[in-house]
Each structure stands twice: as structure tokens, then as C-alpha cells.
């Protein structure tokens, strides 16, 4: 479960460039729920994800993940609760390490790391089996450096990495935005499969309204650092991308000039 209470995030406080990135956001995501988040550039969706991941510490408010108050905890300190896939495939995995070394690193997320060999025979076999499930043929390339893989392959491996160690929440940060349409679909299907199989509490930030409505149980829209739309259940099922755009226009009180929202 994720609970966010009255979060305030201000960048560049006291400077002429001061920006209120999040303004009193309240949000509760139930255990096992899959929430998609949309909003234009600068709406605060990446900041919200950063607040949950620990990259951004709020100036006021409270963040609870599971039963733990993580408001003041940095990224590394709360990594045991948070699994994450980044937008940039290069960020989410380590190019200089092999596929299996990346998996070994992820398997110990949030745990103490000792002097035991990172790649014992048992772990190797386990990692191989998990990668084989992707059907990408990567199980025969476990010793290859990660930077030899394509962006889509890296995101697929990143998804497996996110599920190797237990976590309270899965954060997806526009994780298909950098991929070609075919690979994006593959990664989305994989995401769907993993999330439903493991009943993960998931928050996915996306630029695509299509994705936001097609996947998950609930959609929220951010604008100007506030939640301006929160739909779930039947009202969400009936919602079309066009409705979302119309709603977006009404809320903004101006014409929609951000093409990025229409794509997909």
C-alpha cells in the first residue's frame, strides 16, 4: 500500500525560478492496485514518482509505503520497499556488468550484501530460468555485458530485475517511452503479466493516454502539481482517450497544445 499525505515539493525555493512541483497531493493506493498516472510536461508526475522512490524529499507531508514511514528516507534506504523501472534503459541496468551480474545485484535489493560469491551455481540457475521466461533467447547470453542488449531487451531484463527481490511497490517511469512500438507493446504485455501474476502494487507514469486507460485499475491525472482527475471502476471503463483530452482541456481552461499527450 502507498499512502501520500499533503505532499509539498518546491524546487529552487527562495530563488526567482522557484517552482511548486507538487502542491498538497493526497493519494492512497491500495494493496495490489495498479494505478496509471498521466499529465503534461511539468505537471508533477515525475516528481510524484521521485517522492515515492526517494529521489525527491518533500518539504512537507508524509509518505508511507507498506507500514513504513519513508518520508525522510533516501533512495537507497527505502530500496527494499520499492522496485523501479526507469524510462531510460541505460539508467535502470548497469551496462558494464553482465546480465547475470545485474540480476545478482537486483536480487539483493534492500538486503545486506556480504562476501558470498554473487554468482553461485544455484543463483545462476535461478536467474537463467527467470530470463528464459522472457522468450528472448537471452538465457544463452547470461555472461554478455548488458550494454550489448537492445533498449527493449534491457527494459525486459529490468522488469525481471524489479521482481527478483520482494517489494511493496513497483514504480514504472514511462518505461516504454524510449522503445519502438513493437518492443513497447512487448514490454507492456510483460508488465501486465508480471503485475497480475505477482499482485504487485504498481504505479505507472506514462505519456500515452491509450496506455493509461488500457492498463491498470485506476487512472489519475496531474496538473500544476495537483491531482485533477482520479477515475476507477465503471466510470473509467467507459472513458475514451477523447474524453480524457476533453477533460484535460476543461481543467486547463485552454486549448491543448501538447502533442505528446495525443500520441499513442
Amino acid at each position: 500500500m502507498i499512502s501520500v499525505n499533503n505532499i509539498q515539493v518546491i524546487f529552487g525555493k527562495g530563488t526567482p525560478l522557484q517552482k511548486q512541483a507538487l502542491n498538497g497531493v493526497d493519494l492512497t493506493i491500495e494493496q495490489g492496485s495498479f494505478v496509471t498516472v498521466i499529465g503534461s510536461n511539468g505537471a508533477g508526475k515525475s516528481t510524484l514518482l521521485g517522492v515515492l522512490a526517494g529521489d525527491v524529499l518533500p518539504s512537507a507531508g508524509q509518505v508511507t509505503i507498506g507500514k513504513t514511514d519513508v518520508t525522510r528516507k533516501g533512495t537507497a534506504a527505502r530500496a527494499g520497499l520499492v522496485a523501479r523501472v526507469f524510462q531510460d534503459p541505460l539508467t535502470g541496468s548497469c551496462g558494464a556488468l553482465s546480465i547475470e551480474e545485474n540480476l545478482a545485484l537486483a536480487a539483493k535489493r534492500g538486503e545486506a550484501r556480504g562476501l558470498v560469491a554473487a554468482l553461485g551455481p544455484k543463483r545462476r540457475e535461478h536467474f537463467r530460468a527467470r530470463i528464459a521466461e522472457l522468450n528472448l533467447g537471452l538465457e544463452n547470453r547470461m555472461g554478455d555485458r548488458m550494454d550489448l542488449l537492445s533498449g527493449g531487451q534491457r527494459q525486459a531484463v529490468s522488469l525481471v530485475m524489479a521482481t527478483l527481490a520482494g517489494s511493496e511497490v513497483l514504480l514504472l517511469d514511462e518505461h516504454t517511452a524510449a522503445l519502438d512500438p513493437g518492443m513497447a507493446e512487448f514490454v507492456m504485455n510483460l508488465t501486465q503479466k508480471i503485475v497480475s501474476e505477482r499482485k504487485l502494487t504498481t504505479m505507472m507514469v506514462t505519456h500515452s493516454m491509450r496506455q493509461a486507460l488500457d492498463y491498470g485499475h485506476r487512472t489519475i491525472m496531474l496538473h500544476g502539481g495537483e491531482i485533477v482527475l482520479d477515475v476507477a471502476g465503471d466510470s473509467r471503463k467507459e472513458l475514451q482517450v477523447e474524453d480524457l483530452i476533453a477533460m484535460f482541456r476543461r481543467i486547463r481552461g485552454q486549448t491543448l497544445d501538447d502533442d505528446a499527450l495525443l500520441i499513442g
Binding site: T91, L97, A104, K108, R113, L115, A118
Partner: protein, 292 residues
């Protein structure tokens, strides 16, 4: 080159193999350009020499030297992590400060260890000639160090350190405290370098405050020569490359200086070093077929 000169070069190469492995940890694993080594190498030598003269067991003296080196590394790490000073500059500050520290430790610029017991003393006079004993003894220590560092870098803890250097953001997302890894890595790196200094003092019979000048270049030269020769094929190969590079570097220097034909003298050492490192850096490019 005489037999004694050859084994002397191998011996010095093995001593500096500790420096090379330390430099590899900082530059390659942590991606931290660390010049502290120019200070931590003579620090190790100074601490060892002073303690041995005070009657301390030479093995214990070498261990204390490692602790001193680790402390120097931690100072550099702190300047960088805690006070946000650029890594290169942080290490230069520590290096400069260590020059004074080393003078304080020794009380004078130079301490001689004549007739003092060293780690090697028990092994002299066992039938093997001295110029074989030294490289053999140090070689065994190098093998142990390489195995320990190799196993560490392939453990869960070592993987966290490698991820810190390669992709810090990803490492943090995986729960790795990257700041702690920098402290730890710099401590290990400079402890190894200081141990090299301790061995240098014990095999050469003196500690000198100026013996650290250019240590970083020598260490880097060894790392680069190793990489050029063996390529990037895993941690163990890279570490073996460091040792091999360090030995070959010394032999190359010895060859260059002992060949009358070239007309070089000892004072040309730094130039030869620079030329050699440049050559090692350019070679992979040339092999790939022309400049990029």
C-alpha cells in the same frame, strides 16, 4: 641487462603491482580519479620504516601502514562525498597534505632501515640467492592479494561497489549506499598502495618522502599496459593484467635505461614513463586500424 637487473625489475614490478591493483580499484571500479596514491605510497613506507626502527614486528608494521593508507583514502573520500569537492581536486589536497604528514611521521626526509629485521629476513640465507628471494616472496603476497580482491569484486558486496562506479543511480535504486561504497573503495585502494609502500621500504632498506612522486603514473601505466595486452575479459583477467603490466613496465624501463644505444640515463626516467604510457594508450587505437 644482467640477471640481477632483470630480477630487480621484476621485484620492483611486483611491489608496484599493489599500487596497480589499488589504482585499478579507484580508477576502473569506482571511476574515481584518485591521486592520493602519490602520498599514501610514501606514507606506507614511512610508517613501516619508523615502526620497524622502533622495534615493532615488520608484519605488524606493514599492517599499520595499510591502516594509515586506508585513513588517507577515507580523507579523500570524505572531501569528495561529504564536502562535495571535485574528486580529482579532493585527492590532490590529500596528496599535498600527506607530504607534510610523511615528514612528520619520519621526523626527517629519509629513514634508513640498515640491518633492521624485515618481513624478508627469515627467508634470506635459506640457500636461494637474495635477488630470487625478494621477487618470490613478494610474488606470493601479490598472488594472495589478487585472489582476495578478485573474490571480493565478484561477491555481493563487490558487485555493489562495481555498480557504484558504473551506474550510481541504478546502484542507489538497488539499495546500494553509494557514498559508503566510495569510502570503502578508497580505503581499500589506498591500503593496498600503502602496503606497496611498506614493501618498498622493506625491500629497498629505506623510506624517502619523495619516493611517492609519480606513483599514480606508474600505477596507471601498469593498469593500461595490462588492459592493452589482455583486453577487457572479466575481473580476474584485469587484475592479472595489472600485475603483468606493472612487471612489464619495470622491465621496459630497465631495458630502455640499460641499452647504451639509446643513450638514456636515469634522469630520463620520467620522460620514458610518459612515452611508455602514451604508447600503451595509443596502441589499441592503432590496432583498430587508424585514429578514430
Amino acid at each position: 641487462m644482467s640477471l640481477i637487473a632483470f630480477w630487480g625489475a621484476v621485484e620492483l614490478g611486483l611491489v608496484y603491482a599493489f599500487v596497480a591493483v589499488g589504482v585499478f580499484l579507484a580508477f576502473r571500479v569506482l571511476d574515481f580519479p584518485d591521486l592520493t596514491v602519490d602520498g599514501s605510497f610514501p606514507l606506507g613506507a614511512a610508517v613501516t620504516a619508523v615502526l620497524i626502527i622502533a622495534g615493532v614486528n615488520p608484519w605488524l608494521a606493514a599492517c599499520v601502514a595499510m591502516v594509515a593508507g586506508a585513513a588517507a583514502g577515507i580523507v579523500t573520500a570524505m572531501l569528495n562525498v561529504r564536502f562535495k569537492i571535485l574528486n580529482l581536486l579532493a585527492s590532490i589536497l590529500t596528496m599535498i597534505a600527506l607530504f607534510s604528514v610523511n615528514l612528520r611521521v619520519m621526523g626527517k626526509p629519509n629513514v634508513a632501515l640498515i640491518n633492521a629485521d624485515t618481513m624478508l629476513s627469515p627467508f634470506y640465507g635459506l640457500g636461494l640467492r637474495d635477488f630470487y628471494v625478494r621477487p618470490l616472496f613478494i610474488g606470493v603476497l601479490v598472488v594472495i592479494a589478487v585472489i582476495v580482491v578478485w573474490r571480493f569484486l565478484e561477491s555481493d558486496a563487490g558487485l555493489a561497489m562495481r555498480a557504484t562506479g558504473a551506474n550510481a543511480r541504478m546502484a542507489r535504486a538497488q539499495g546500494v549506499d553509494t557514498n559508503r561504497q566510495i569510502y570503502l573503495g578508497m580505503a581499500i585502494s589506498n591500503a593496498l598502495v600503502a602496503f606497496g609502500g611498506a614493501l618498498f621500504a622493506q625491500t629497498n632498506g629505506f623510506a624517502d618522502v619523495t619516493s611517492g612522486v609519480g606513483t599514480i603514473v606508474v600505477g596507471l601505466a601498469a593498469v593500461i599496459i595490462g588492459e592493452t595486452l589482455l583486453g577487457a575479459r572479466g575481473i580476474l583477467i584485469a587484475l592479472i593484467g595489472c600485475v603483468l603490466g606493472s612487471i612489464l613496465y619495470r622491465i621496459a624501463i630497465q631495458l630502455a635505461l640499460s641499452t647504451d644505444m639509446l643513450g638514456l640515463q636515469a634522469s630520463d626516467l620520467n620522460f620514458v614513463t610518459a612515452a611508455l604510457v602514451t604508447f600503451a594508450l595509443v596502441l589499441p587505437r592503432l590496432r583498430r586500424g587508424g585514429a578514430a
